[in-house]
């Protein structure tokens, strides 16, 4: 923000998704939006587990995205309101730690409402437990989310999925990446007290916002032969946004994701944000030569 309180950074957003080849419908959801008068971006993707045991996981993923965006919007407004003063950062960090609990609670409430109206197992409890407890596993989903302002980047992750930060020179950084996945088991919103499993990445943007922040479900990263291929894709998305504009990338995104999904067979969903000069940014000096092609 500049001295007049006008934001110097605005956000251009990207989001899209495709269903996996040979799947009837996608169990992924994702969204990218701005809030706080455009000063914060909220990104999220969710991946419903999709197998027979999780036959309502498309709903689970949808409600995961809704629950996250609802809670993250409130948090993002707080980050914008108080985040310019670094003295408030310890409290914002503490609030970030409690956000997963709110999200999980909101998700559970939505699932339990659905179960009250339309029980997944026809009102006879789970097939194995014999108790009237709702079978949350039917709705199981992962969740990856981020709040991004000019000063702070906060990311959360529960289960599979990827967050890639792309630098100006194309260097990538993945805050939660711990190496290749060794199986299909994933942490899930449907587990008891799932919020305990959520991981948090807190990053004051002391060097300015990353030029590209991309969140995706694991159907995208798994479609590449290796990790480097996935990172090259992320770098390419950011480079495309920088050179041709986010709108052009958005137009091409379904093709790119569809191409990728052919290899993984899984749904692939991506949400991204790119900083652009806001209304309070200093006007750039005209370049002596503008290359247009």
């Amino acid at each position: 923000m500049n001295a007049t309180g006008t934001p110097t950074v605005a956000w251009e957003l990207l989001d899209g998704g495709v269903k996996g080849v040979a799947k009837k419908y996608s169990q992924d959801r994702g969204t990218a939006l701005t809030t706080a008068d455009g000063r914060a971006a909220v990104l999220t993707v969710a991946d419903g587990h999709g197998s027979r045991a999780h036959f309502r996981s498309d709903l689970g993923a949808r409600w995961a995205v809704e629950a996250f965006t609802s809670c993250a919007r409130v948090y993002a407004r707080e980050v914008v309101r108080r985040g310019d003063d670094a003295a408030n950062w310890p409290r914002l960090l503490a609030e970030a730690r409690t956000l997963p609990q709110q999200v999980v609670h909101a998700w559970r409430r939505r699932v339990l409402t659905q179960e009250a109206n339309s029980p997944a197992h026809g009102g006879h409890g789970t097939p194995h437990s014999g108790t009237p407890e709702a079978d949350l596993a039917v709705y199981g989903s992962t969740l990856v989310g981020a709040v991004l302002t000019e000063r702070l980047l906060i990311c959360w992750q529960l289960g599979d999925g990827d967050i890639v930060l792309v630098d100006e020179d194309g260097t990538t950084h993945m805050p939660f990446y711990t190496g290749p996945d060794m199986g299909d088991e994933t942490e899930s919103l449907c587990e008891p007290e799932a919020w305990r499993k959520a991981r948090l990445h807190w990053q004051p943007l002391t060097g300015g916002p990353p030029p590209g922040v991309l969140l995706s479900t694991d159907g995208l990263s798994k479609s590449f032969a290796d990790h480097e291929g996935f990172l090259a894709f992320a770098t390419g998305v950011r480079a495309g946004a920088a050179s041709h504009g986010v709108a052009a990338v958005q137009a091409q995104l379904p093709d790119w994701l569809g191409h990728a999904a052919k290899y993984s067979g899984d749904d692939a969903t991506l949400a991204g944000a790119f900083p652009v000069p806001g209304p309070g940014a200093a006007r750039p000096q005209p370049h002596p030569h503008i290359d247009t092609h």
């Binding site: 809670c71 670094a86 310890p90 409290r91 930060l165 630098d167 305990r196 807190w202 002391t206 990353p210």
Partner: protein, 449 residues
């Protein structure tokens, strides 16, 4: 872009003129970033403050702490201020030791991370005890920490050792200091901003109790049914929850904030397995202590209770899990398998003289040990490497245990038939009810069935 304020390879300078080189970013926190740095004396860590927080007041606090020159292995204490010699990067930071890898943060415990899989009930209670002793030591030096929370305590899952980090908000008690810390750990009077309320040792006691509850119960003591009714957990909601209307989830007089089955299964289970001696302290500090700071449970009370609970931990013979048991209390049902825990014989150790005699009961399960702190009536610190006696199995008769003397002095054993025997270093005495053991220095012990 986003990867930190300092660049790898950049040189910083300490107050004594040593040059240190920035190597890599460890991570970002609420007040600054922590880097690994290379120094003439080996690798160290530097916490570099965000520019807005690197003010004269923080510098003054930091220099006061460095002046203490405190060399306690439970604290990553600031060693010296560091600055950028070229003044390209405004502000300052401080040098400290690198946190050893055996220490893990509490979020890893809460999410049951594989890195803390070695944690047992025994090491968890030991970690709580060490945490209390660490802050007790700090407080006894007249220093208030001001920012006790789950982000600045690290523990070794294998031993329960703790390491207190981010000590740079600590101030001498009574010294004017701004409110520090986060609302969920802050004493209610500070959250409300009561006139005259200042962060100090008394408010630290509330934060310490919250931390202990989190450590042992894996849940926040005020986070129950009422929090689930809050649609938007904004600052106003938190002020109400932690400041104006705090209500302990197990307040015996008001059940309105009880944990909700399905939403809070962990705390329902852990509270159910907690011995009464600790429950009573939590109830006291989170009922009376919320409104009356002087009623808060003190470190010595926590220490004594945790120490007694640690000595009473018993392994369930049915499933092999450790159980906390009420000292002097009846056998509980195992938290894991539900079988009634079989309480083994107890070694009652008596120290001190006259009316000031202290009694401690050690359950003699096969892994029990007698430590040096058992032999003094008011131990300054519980050191679980200072083993005095150890339960060992008879080499020829499995299932028969005795207590082996791990000291360099003889023990004296008196049997109820009047016979007396010396037990030299490395020798083992068979344990039977009625056996009396003299450890020397006036400390004696008796075996009870």
């Amino acid at each position: 872009m986003a990867n930190g304020m300092l660049l790898a390879g950049q040189t910083l300078i300490t107050e004594s003129g040593d040059r240190v080189t920035v190597a890599e970013l460890f991570g970002s926190g609420g007040q600054g970033e922590v880097y690994r740095v290379r120094t003439p004396y080996g690798d160290r860590a530097v916490k570099w403050y965000y520019p807005q927080l690197a003010d004269a007041r923080q510098r003054q606090i930091l220099e006061g702490l460095i002046h203490h020159n405190w060399n306690d292995d439970r604290f990553l204490w600031p060693q010296t201020v560091v600055m950028d010699p070229d003044a390209t990067y405004p502000g300052f930071g401080y040098l400290m030791d690198v946190r050893p890898q055996r220490y893990h943060d509490l979020p890893a415990l809460f999410r049951r991370d594989a890195s803390v899989a070695a944690t047992t009930l025994r090491t968890l209670v030991a970690a709580a005890l060490h945490t209390v002793e660490a802050y007790f030591t700090l407080h006894s030096k007249g220093i208030a920490y001001r920012d006790i929370n789950w982000g600045n305590i690290f523990f070794d899952p294998a031993t329960g050792d703790v390491l207190v980090c981010d000590n740079d908000n600590a101030v001498v008690e009574g010294e004017a200091a701004a409110v520090a810390g986060t609302m969920d750990f802050m004493a209610p009077e500070l959250v409300r901003g009561d006139k005259g309320a200042r962060p100090g040792i008394q408010t630290d006691l509330h934060s310490l109790a919250v931390l202990l509850f989190l450590l042992l119960m894996n849940h926040h003591p005020l986070d129950g049914a009422q929090a689930l009714q809050i649609r938007c957990m904004d600052e106003a909601a938190k002020r109400r929850m932690y400041g104006t209307h705090p209500l302990f989830i197990y307040d015996p007089a008001d059940p309105a904030n009880r944990p909700v089955p399905g939403e809070h299964p962990t705390v329902i289970a852990t509270w159910g397995a907690l011995p009464k001696i600790l429950r009573d302290l939590f109830v006291k500090t989170f009922t009376q202590g919320l409104g009356t700071p002087s009623a808060r449970v003190r470190e010595s009370q926590w220490r004594d209770a945790l120490s007694r609970v640690l000595d009473a931990i018993t392994v369930c013979v049915s499933c092999g899990r450790q159980n906390m048991t009420q000292p002097e209390g009846p056998a509980p049902d195992c938290w894991k398998c539900g079988t009634t825990v079989q309480l083994p014989p107890k070694l009652e150790v008596v120290t001190g003289r006259g009316a000031l005699r202290t009694r401690r009961g050690i359950r003699l399960d096969p892994k029990a040990r007698v430590y040096a702190h058992h032999l003094v009536d008011d131990p300054e610190r519980h050191d679980f490497t200072a083993v005095v006696g150890e339960m060992t199995e008879h080499p020829q008769q499995r299932g028969r245990f005795g207590l082996t003397n791990r000291t360099t002095r003889d023990w004296t054993v008196r049997r109820d038939d009047g016979t007396v025997q010396e037990v030299g270093p490395g020798r083992t005495v068979a344990l039977r009810p009625g056996l009396l053991l003299e450890f020397g220095g006036g400390t004696e012990a008796e075996v009870h069935a």
